[in-house]
Symmetry: C2
Subunit: 368 residues, 2 copies
């Protein structure tokens, strides 16, 4: 991963040397603009993922391609992998101050900036992808998210979804709550807090370090995403057991963020193009994970002899109870978190009631 | 509904009288085009739904708005409700011959034209919305759909999804398989064939006639969509019991269709805008249904005293077995149906295996 990043940086330097100037004004066939018919915009988009990482990293690349096509080249978006322009976890600050016009990341990374951000990716025992998108776009979520990011001069947009993730990779079996005690697991955010209350030791590590940490025994377990991504990271070489379901991230929605000042300089048609391309990518990423995860899982099980394990029911029940406690505590930290949690919780109760008669009832009837 | 349509027609006539000419060429602030900087396109989009019907009908209106905004007014799409320009079930022919440049409908209505079309909306015990979108965009579905529609000079695009529908409205309880015998139910397509094999009598009726047919006892039961739409139709006034889950349509994906010749006349940027706007609407409709169905269900139950009923498990099991028989028979009818069914079936087995560990396992763990 590190080698790849270095290679990426070298290529980047070459590209920059041959590069186009930002905001250049030149006529090209198929170009057009609102106020100025030949104005082109050259934007930077920084991400928290390795360049072109499957799903997470290819999402913003597809966004850039759609924007280029729809704008007939008037808005060019150059995508940077983590560390190429700014480190993975400095995306928020970089876009906020205008170093880049856009970013692609996960809102829960910004809990240190604003705690309520944790509700806008995925929370333990929260919403699956379909439910999350409903909350964001028709359940009041987006309005709250905009309010939350406004003080940072940022506009948030939904930016893809992984679906329900896997429970993670383990080098010991989890047969009871006792087995969680002392467990050193890489699990960030709210899931980590839940594990801590269950007696475990959550560890935060960037994706690129998971393999070594697991292999050397520095950690006993790690979660990442799902088979499609986990296979790419080779985690099966460092752990025996692959647990399900991913109770801690049941439908992680990624985010695009746009610098508000930069957005305001765009003519209305390019603004609509940015918004609509992000919406299309939000679905496209979920479609890709949905179609590809199982092929990767089959490869993991059949070729690499990975052993699938279900979390025991009493473990899941305990983790669920602890999750409710953690969320209530987060919500009590500040008024905005309280407001977001109230909206999230009311929506969740509603959608769960309906999905128990439809999505869930159907999946169960189909497989019975 | 008929009165509404007549009112719609009157408004339409007025609009046409004041109207713009198709293909007019005039400069407007914010306009732009590829080959010809002032060329505008005026397209017609015919639909199978009442004008502005919640979800199904507002989807194409949103599409038109997105296209207008992103193209800075260069592509204007005028949406027609069912019967305004062509009847609901003549959308396919109208777009095929170029009477309208686009249509919005459901592929399963065109089984008389090409039987394999039935696989591109929803099939009994098939895929839910998330799974369907995965098959279409990353599982080979779209390529087959394009092949299927090519002889009709049509390009298909995903155009929205209702999610798992409800099982329908009944005036008698379904306690056993015996209760399906002789049941006169409005249930179109493959679901109807399944009911027939279970001893029932499927009836096909347009949406606008459901209420009267149910109230007069001409039918014993009807399916429609889900609470959000069913409440709008007032079906609770004509039936006592509301059954779940909707085994017959577990994730109905609507369709946009574009006349291939008309599409080819568009510059590349407008082509990309049409494709991307449809993708955004495909998710937007599902988001809307997901967020709004439960509020409508609460109103049905609490305000209108609707009685919710689950299909008995043995009834669902029998319907599932019969569904597999019906699908296999449809697939044996022609080589293209065979090819589509083979792709659908292989994908379904794969995605079910993965979702049993993730989406389904999570929903069950969350509600346990």
């Amino acid at each position: 991963m590190k080698l790849k990043l270095l290679a990426g940086l070298a290529i980047l330097t070459l590209l920059t040397a041959c590069g186009e100037k930002a905001g250049s004004t030149h006529a090209t066939q198929g170009q057009a603009a609102s106020q100025d018919p030949v104005k082109t915009y050259n934007w930077k988009l920084v991400t928290s993922w390795p360049k072109n990482f499957p799903g997470l990293g290819t999402g913003p690349e597809k966004f850039a391609k759609l924007v280029d096509e729809m704008s007939a080249g008037r808005l060019k978006v150059k995508v940077y992998g983590a560390g190429q322009l700014v480190p993975a976890l400095e995306v928020f600050d970089a876009v906020s101050r205008g170093t880049a016009q856009m970013g692609h990341s996960g809102a829960y990374y910004w809990k240190g900036k604003t705690p309520a951000a944790q509700f806008f990716t995925s929370v333990p025992f929260g919403l699956n992808a379909q439910e999350m998108h409903g909350w964001i776009h028709y359940g009041g979520g987006m309005e709250l998210w905009q309010e939350l990011y406004a003080p940072f001069n940022l506009i948030p947009l939904a930016g893809g979804n992984t679906g329900v993730q896997m429970g993670g990779w383990f080098n010991k079996e989890i047969n009871s709550l006792e087995d969680l005690k002392g467990l050193k697991m890489r699990i960030p955010g709210l899931g980590g807090e839940v594990l801590e209350r269950a007696g475990g030791t959550p560890v935060t590590l960037p994706g690129a370090e998971l393999f070594t940490a697991l292999q050397t025994g520095a950690i006993d377990a790690t979660e990442w995403v799902g088979p499609y991504n986990d296979l790419a990271f080779g985690l099966y070489k460092a752990a025996k057991y692959y647990y399900y379901p991913g109770w801690h991230e049941p439908g992680s929605m990624l985010e695009f963020m746009v610098n508000k000042t930069a957005f305001a300089t765009l003519p209305a048609d390019l603004q609509a193009i940015v918004r609509t391309a992000s919406r299309a990518v939000n679905q496209d990423m979920l479609d890709e994970y949905t179609a590809r995860n199982n092929h990767a899982l089959i490869e993991l099980v059949e070729k690499h002899s990975v052993q699938l394990r279900a979390y025991p029911q009493d473990v899941l029940l305990k983790l669920r109870d602890l999750s409710a406690e953690v969320l209530a505590d987060v919500a009590s930290e500040d008024p905005m978190s309280q407001k977001v949690y109230a909206s999230f919780k009311a929506y969740k109760e509603n959608v769960m009631a309906y999905h128990s008669l439809t999505e869930q009832a159907f999946l169960n009837a189909r497989s019975r």
